[in-house]
């Protein structure tokens, strides 16, 4: 039994000191060499964290960062967490004691906690005597010493879970700063953590976002997760692999009747879960087809396309090689690294002229390459080049010819071609608006089994976009069939559509419109809600709300993390950093307060935008900066015994079906669309949120607001 170290005079013992003391005591006079490291726990912490003894890592590493450089992007991590400097400006993972009056007093520096990291560490496994330290290969640790008590092992394990801190300083309480934050003198900073990481931690709904508004981090994770599933294709029996899902769609998908929307909702949900097995905070972005950037670029003029090529190419791209505009992150591009690898494989060096541009299709890209390296070299290296393109962007797809439609003579027809061949046009905003007005399930979502018929969403825009993104391959030669040059793009036909990654953003948007329609027309269900969904282990009923499935749709959102322990009289955020595109494109702006602690006395909150000096006297009428009002119903003095007013502390159990506790923190949603619109119309290009506590009667603002975050969410 190691004893608790008494704090003597001088520098207080850190947890690391204590961990070392436990291990040294147990090691006794052992001379174990530990592969030359000796007592590795006595090494400088940085080295200690890296030690592997006989290939077993003593301290489990943090989750591997995702290498975004493959995609020509910055590096990120699977669960990025900030380095925190001050307890008050940041969220704490553990809620503070309910009675805590000051968030900062005596709290340890919050660091990255990784539950289970200790248990995965060779040191803990070895101390516990778990396999292979159970004597089946190694004796338990420390070798030549005595067994460490379960209590001490837990102490070390917790220390590892808590990020192996070097020193646990008692934070020098910055009362001033704390006071400044709690009174609005200082602004709370917008979190740089991905919103879905925060959502994932708090078990909130994850956000499927507009594909054009993803952060670099979100783009990288989406690509990475797709690539991981693609890499499982070499295990044909592994049902996590990408091709399994493509084939499942081809084999089982429901079109042209009432299960179209529900089947695809669950299909996307299942696939997204597979992606989240790889990266927990990744979601399927949606492709809002009629956005201006797509419409105005619909079959861009050749002159426009030529801007995407090196000046060395003098020849003008033929019209039939020009493709329609697709979402940015799905496009075809070459990185410098990939170009180098190709040159190393013998591709003429001039291919590097393609680096730095983006192309709507491989048709455009390979046309450019042909101009640079010649027809023969292209034919020789085309598959190698294609492999590199897929490596740098797994969302690009070679069998995708968007808006490439031709007449019998091979002349490009563009949208007119789609119109004439398929009697459809590319969906516009007004088409979508019209569809959303349909007020019965059969017309919107399809007819029932015994009277099956297409719903409008299914037919157009859904079918139209499939056809449009698939397109015809101008290189198809019926006299000389080549499996790499098929007649149609994969999206054009149901059996192959699921293989093209553009499928997911496309269907994510279909699902978004389905959800929007449900919000507009609540209570409309298909005829048979108990029918099972073919190939998926769900019934129609399971698919009738997306909330239960854990996601929502937004263009994007901004999150400010606060310390739930801090009591505030006024809250100010920094400027959110909203993009002008977001401000211009959204239909709805919603302000949310997260996990607001139930107050003991009732109070109100006034919300101001871009008026950081607002206080309780600031006018609310004729003030364009006043955005709305929230009131809280206080619970009053506790009438019960100890703990009566404390919500259940531990993780909510799946089997706890009681109603919500009267003091469980609540969420607040406030529609601020009008306020934002007014400010934007007046020229505002960013937003800053202020919350002013209006106390019961008192002139001086009381510190009553406690919450662990605020977010601004835009949707379209």
């Amino acid at each position: 039994m190691a004893t608790k170290q008494k704090k003597g005079p001088g520098k207080p013992k850190s947890r690391l000191d204590h961990v070392r003391a436990i291990l040294n005591k147990a090691a006794g006079d052992s001379t174990a060499d530990y592969q030359g490291y000796g007592r590795f726990w006595d090494l400088p912490l940085k080295e200690f964290l890296e030690v592997s003894i006989y290939s077993i890592r003593m301290i489990a590493p943090l989750p591997e960062p995702i290498d975004c450089s493959t995609f020509g992007m910055q590096e990120t991590t699977t669960n990025a967490a900030p380095e925190s400097n001050s307890c008050c400006g940041n969220k704490e993972t553990q809620p503070p004691p309910a009675s805590s009056s000051d968030c900062c007093s005596g709290a340890d520096t919050p660091t990255t906690t990784t539950p289970g990291r200790g248990a995965k560490s060779g040191l803990i496994i070895g101390l516990k005597g778990e396999f292979p330290f159970d004597g089946s290969h190694f004796p338990l640790l420390p070798w030549g010493g005595t067994q460490v008590s379960a209590e001490d092992i837990l102490y070390i394990s917790n220390w590892i879970d808590d990020g192996c801190p070097d020193e646990d300083h008692q934070v020098a309480v910055d009362k001033q700063k704390s006071e400044a934050l709690a009174t609005g003198q200082e602004a709370h900073v917008v979190s740089d953590r991905p919103t879905n990481v925060i959502k994932n931690e708090s078990d909130g709904l994850k956000q499927r976002k507009n594909i054009e508004f993803l952060t670099e981090d979100e783009i990288c994770k989406f690509r990475y997760a797709i690539q991981e599933l693609l890499s499982l294709d070499k295990f044909p029996l592994d049902n996590r692999n990408y091709t399994y899902w493509g084939r499942l769609h081809g084999d089982e998908c429901q079109h042209g009747w009432e299960q179209f929307l529900t089947w695809h909702r669950m299909f996307l949900y299942e696939f997204e879960q597979r992606l989240q097995d790889v990266v927990p905070d990744v979601t399927l972005p949606y492709w809002n087809w009629p956005m201006d950037m797509y419409l105005k670029g619909f079959l861009p003029p050749q002159k426009e396309v030529m801007k995407n090529f090196s000046k060395k190419i003098k020849k003008k791209i033929p019209r039939e090689m020009v493709s329609g505009v697709i979402p940015t992150i799905l496009r075809c591009y070459l990185t410098e690294e990939a170009a180098k690898r190709l040159v190393a494989q013998g591709v003429p060096a001039s291919i590097s002229e393609m680096v730095g541009f983006q192309y709507n299709s491989g048709l455009e890209f390979f046309w450019g390459v042909e101009q640079l390296i010649g027809k023969q070299a292209l034919a020789q290296h085309k598959l190698a080049i294609r492999a590199e393109l897929l490596k740098v962007n797994p969302l690009w797809y070679p069998y995708r010819y968007p808006a490439n439609f031709y007449d019998a003579n091979g002349k490009a027809l563009g949208e007119a071609g789609m119109q004439s061949k398929f009697n459809h046009h590319y969906p516009r905003t007004k088409d979508v608006a019209q569809i959303l007005q349909v007020s019965n399930w059969t017309d919107f979502g399809g007819g029932p089994q015994y009277d099956a018929s297409y719903g409008v969403l299914d037919m157009n825009p859904h079918n139209t976009i499939h056809i449009w993104s698939g397109g015809f391959n101008p290189n198809f030669d019926p006299n000389n069939p080549d499996p790499n040059e098929p007649q149609f793009g994969d999206m054009l036909n149901n059996l192959t559509a699921g293989y093209d990654p553009i499928f997911w953003p496309h269907h994510s948007n279909v699902d978004r419109l389905f959800n929007r329609w449900q919000e507009l027309h609540p209570g409309l269900d298909p005829a048979d809600t108990t029918a099972s969904l073919s190939g998926l282990d769900y019934t129609v009923k399971d698919a009738l709300t997306i909330k239960r499935l854990g996601y929502e749709y937004v263009i994007g959102s901004y999150y400010v993390e606060t310390n739930q322990g801090m009591k505030m009289s006024k809250f100010n955020s920094t400027k959110l950093g909203t993009s002008s595109m977001m401000l211009a494109n959204h239909l709805k702006a919603e302000l949310r307060l997260h996990n607001v602690i139930q107050p003991s006395v009732s109070y109100g909150l006034r919300v101001f935008i871009n008026q950081p000096d607002a206080d309780s006297k600031t006018p609310v009428t004729d003030n364009p900066n006043y955005a709305g009002f929230v009131s809280f119903f206080g619970h009053g003095d506790c009438i019960g015994g100890p703990g009566h007013c404390d919500p259940p502390k531990n993780n909510p159990s799946r089997f706890d079906f009681r109603s919500m506790h009267h003091n469980t923190p609540r969420n607040v949603k406030l529609d601020v669309t009008d306020a934002v619109k007014k400010l934007v119309d007046k020229g505002a290009n960013d937003l800053q949120i202020s919350l002013v506590v209006i106390g019961p009667g008192s002139e001086v603002a009381p510190k009553l607001l406690q919450m662990n975050g605020l977010s601004m969410n835009f949707s379209d």
């Binding site: 060499d33 030359g36 490291y37 004597g135 089946s136 290969h137 004796p139 030549g144």
Partner: protein, 720 residues
């Protein structure tokens, strides 16, 4: 590693016991239970000789007072594995036995053994032919005996049962006319030595009330019933018409007799894991270990065929190795069919797993003179290629791996799978250590060390059918040495890890299973020593180390009230021993040794050394005279190669003690002479016949500790 379920299991250990013939009718010693250990001293009943502390004593006296070779007896014990004893302990009288639905105190143990010799009724041994099934025209031994008469070629004394205490006889013999109620078959009178017994069994009781079984084999008698001139003669190393020997093997089963707590009736509980006994010829150099032992072989087989150590070898997931129950044939078949690899992060222990392999060739210098002439190869002392103080050093953090070149040098010289027919290293990527290379000389400088190791005979250096000229280590041995060569190994001494902490099996009895087999020969098999290549056939096992027994030849393997099945004397009428084989039903008495040479003395004598023709990989025999082929003749290359000097000594050291007086003081000095071991017995067919009568006069080779400067192992007890 073995799966351990929570229900109570009773198991006999060792799983395979090894007895050895001897011409002493009375004296025995017990089989050594550790690799290269001396046998255990005991009285004529098999009670181990204990020292003052109660520890069992070993012996290096292999002959009795009349200079006859003592027989090595196989000792069997029964272990219990249950919740209280997950690692197992030996069962004692008075222990509570968990029967089927009842329980009670152990009052006695009933042991049943059935040994037989089927050699003369089996197929002729023709190297590797037959290992994967015999050709329809494969010749039988004694083919002139036909039809049901062939049954007479089996020596079958019948099964015998003995008890530890008062429930019945405590000893029984496998002797002609001494097995009432059982049908027997013995050969007619033989020349030079008739066979009237295959041995005997008896129980002993220790002071801890353990009831153990002692099994002894035959007297080493061999002879032929063919007597007309020029018979009897020996004309072949493995197949001789008319000949028999008294080697044998067979199942060892046991039942626990307990008094039911409820009705005080005596009831049986069958021991779940029965054993097998094999009788071999004497081990004349018991402390000198074979390059591949039976344990090395069975361990390799268990690892690769029975998912025995899925941390070492399996389908991946080495962090959480899967557990496959070897008796779940579907699961095991699926496992066998899956792609598998050795764990690239398996770190063997140097002194437990590596050093024993490395030192084996070094100690063979005491049973052959060849090594002394080979420039101190295998030297484990200072400046040797195998210098212990250097090759035992794994790379350490922060230091250069300075001894890697030594390890690579040794590992690269090892014969790999597929190189069984090659003498020389021809691997294109073969590259000796930088230490060995001299500037400007490159590959050539390495050429002096060009013979693949081990340089011992393989399974078939004799004929052109299925040639396998040279011995190679098992896959598992090679893997362990590869890890070592790459620096992935643990020096347990430097890690302060005790021997007792190093990779202990979950079941303690496994130490006996493995320790006993580590003193048997695991290759080459032509046909081998204690047992031939059949021992590496997974079909003969029910699970790792356990021979699958044909239930027809075991009296009542179900548990019942005692009175209804007293041993083999009632309700047990087995079919006659089969002259055929049935792996599916299991093994019958005599089925393991029937492949071996008859008589054993012929192969034993001839397996000394061999000129191996290595001109062509697939040709052991060249006929340059037919038609005359002078260029071929001139190119023909042969290598004189030893078979297994550890098992059949070639040259040994004699130690002479000289008492002199120096300056008035008595001084003892020692002198040595290296001599042929089988003096007067040439390695010819005539010599083979001589070996039949003279083997018991040969000396034993044991470690000497009176003279640290002399050879470490010297000959004793030779009958000049």
């Amino acid at each position: 590693m073995q799966a351990n379920d929570l229900t109570t299991k009773y198991k006999i250990h060792p799983a395979i016991g090894i007895a050895r013939v001897g011409d002493s009718p009375t004296d025995i010693y017990l089989a050594p239970e550790t690799e290269g250990g001396l046998p255990i001293a005991c009285d004529e009943q098999g009670n181990a000789t204990l020292d003052a502390k109660g520890q069992e004593q070993t012996t290096s006296n292999f002959k009795d007072s009349s200079n006859r070779v003592k027989r090595q007896a196989a000792r069997f014990q029964i272990y219990v594995y249950d919740e209280k004893n997950p690692h197992g302990r030996e069962l004692q009288v008075g222990d509570i036995i968990q029967g089927e639905g009842t329980s009670g105190k152990l009052v006695d143990i009933e042991w049943t053994v059935w040994m037989a010799n089927k050699k003369s009724s089996w197929y002729q041994f023709a190297q590797l032919e037959g290992e994967h099934g015999y050709a329809p025209d494969h010749p039988l031994r004694n083919a002139d005996v036909q039809g049901t008469d062939r049954q007479k070629l089996i020596i079958d004394p019948g099964a015998q049962t003995v008890y530890g205490m008062k429930q019945g006889q405590q000893s029984a013999s496998f002797t002609q006319g001494e097995n009432e109620g059982q049908s027997q078959n013995f050969p007619p009178p033989l020349i030079p030595n008739s066979i009237t017994s295959l041995g005997a069994i008896n129980t002993i009781q220790t002071k801890d009330k353990n009831i153990r079984l002692i099994v002894r084999g035959g007297l080493g008698n061999s002879g032929s019933y063919k007597q007309e001139f020029p018979q009897p003669k020996i004309s072949h190393y493995a197949n001789n018409e008319g000949w028999f020997d008294d080697i044998s093997d067979g199942p060892v089963t046991a039942k626990l007799i307990y008094q039911d707590d409820l009705d005080h009736q005596l009831r049986y509980q069958v021991v779940h894991d029965p054993a097998w006994v094999i009788v071999g010829y004497p081990s004349f150099a018991p402390q000198i270990v074979d390059m591949i032992t039976i344990d090395d072989l069975v361990y390799d087989l268990s690892v690769r065929q029975f998912a025995y150590n899925t941390y070492l070898y399996g389908r991946g997931n080495f962090d959480t190795p899967e557990k496959i129950n070897p008796e779940d044939t579907d699961a095991l078949d699926f496992w066998r069919d899956s792609p598998k690899t050795y764990n690239p992060d398996y770190y063997p222990y140097f002194y437990k797993e590596i050093w024993p392999i490395l030192t084996r060739p070094y100690y063979m210098q005491y049973t052959t003179s060849v090594l002394a002439t080979s420039n101190d190869a295998h030297e484990i002392g200072a400046r040797g290629d195998f210098d212990e103080s250097l090759v035992s050093q794994p790379p350490k953090h922060g230091e250069r791996d300075v001894y890697k070149s030594m390890r690579i040098f040794i590992y690269e010289a090892l014969r790999r799978p597929g190189e069984e027919n090659q003498l020389l290293i021809t691997r294109p990527d073969y590259n000796l250590s930088p230490r060995r290379e001299r500037p400007g000389q490159g590959q050539q400088s390495a050429d002096y060390m060009k013979e693949l190791m081990p340089l011992l005979c393989g399974d078939n250096p004799l004929t052109n059918t299925l040639p396998s000229k040279f011995l190679r280590l098992t896959d598992t041995q090679l893997f362990l040495l590869k890890q070592w060569a790459e620096g992935k190994f643990i020096n347990e001494k430097q890690e302060d890890i005790l021997d007792s902490q190093v990779e202990q099996p979950v079941e303690k009895g496994v130490l006996l299973d493995r320790g006993v087999l580590a003193n048997g020969l695991g290759g080459a098999f032509c046909p081998g020593a204690e047992v031939a290549w059949i021992i590496r056939n997974p079909a003969i096992y029910s699970k790792p180390y356990r021979i699958k027994i044909d239930g027809d030849y075991v009296p009542n393997l179900t548990s019942r009230t005692v009175k209804t099945t007293p041993g083999v004397t009632a309700l047990f009428s087995p079919p006659e021993l089969s002259t055929d084989n049935g792996f599916d039903q299991g093994m019958q008495p005599g089925d393991l040794t029937k492949y071996s040479a008859v008589p054993w003395q012929s192969d034993f004598n001839e397996c000394s050394d061999q000129y191996i023709d290595y001109t062509y990989d697939q040709w052991n025999v060249l006929y340059p005279d037919s038609p005359p082929d002078a260029p071929l003749k001139s190119q023909q290359k042969t290598k004189q190669t030893l078979w297994w000097p550890s098992h059949r000594p070639m040259q040994v050291w004699q130690q002479f003690v000289n008492h002199t007086k120096e300056k008035g003081k008595n001084v003892t000095t020692y002198s040595y002479d290296q001599v042929d071991w089988a003096r007067g017995i040439p390695a010819t067919k005539a010599g083979d016949y001589k070996m039949v009568t003279e083997w018991a006069k040969l000396g034993f080779v044991v470690k000497q500790d009176v003279d640290p400067t002399g050879p470490a192992y010297v000959e004793t007890e030779a009958d000049e």
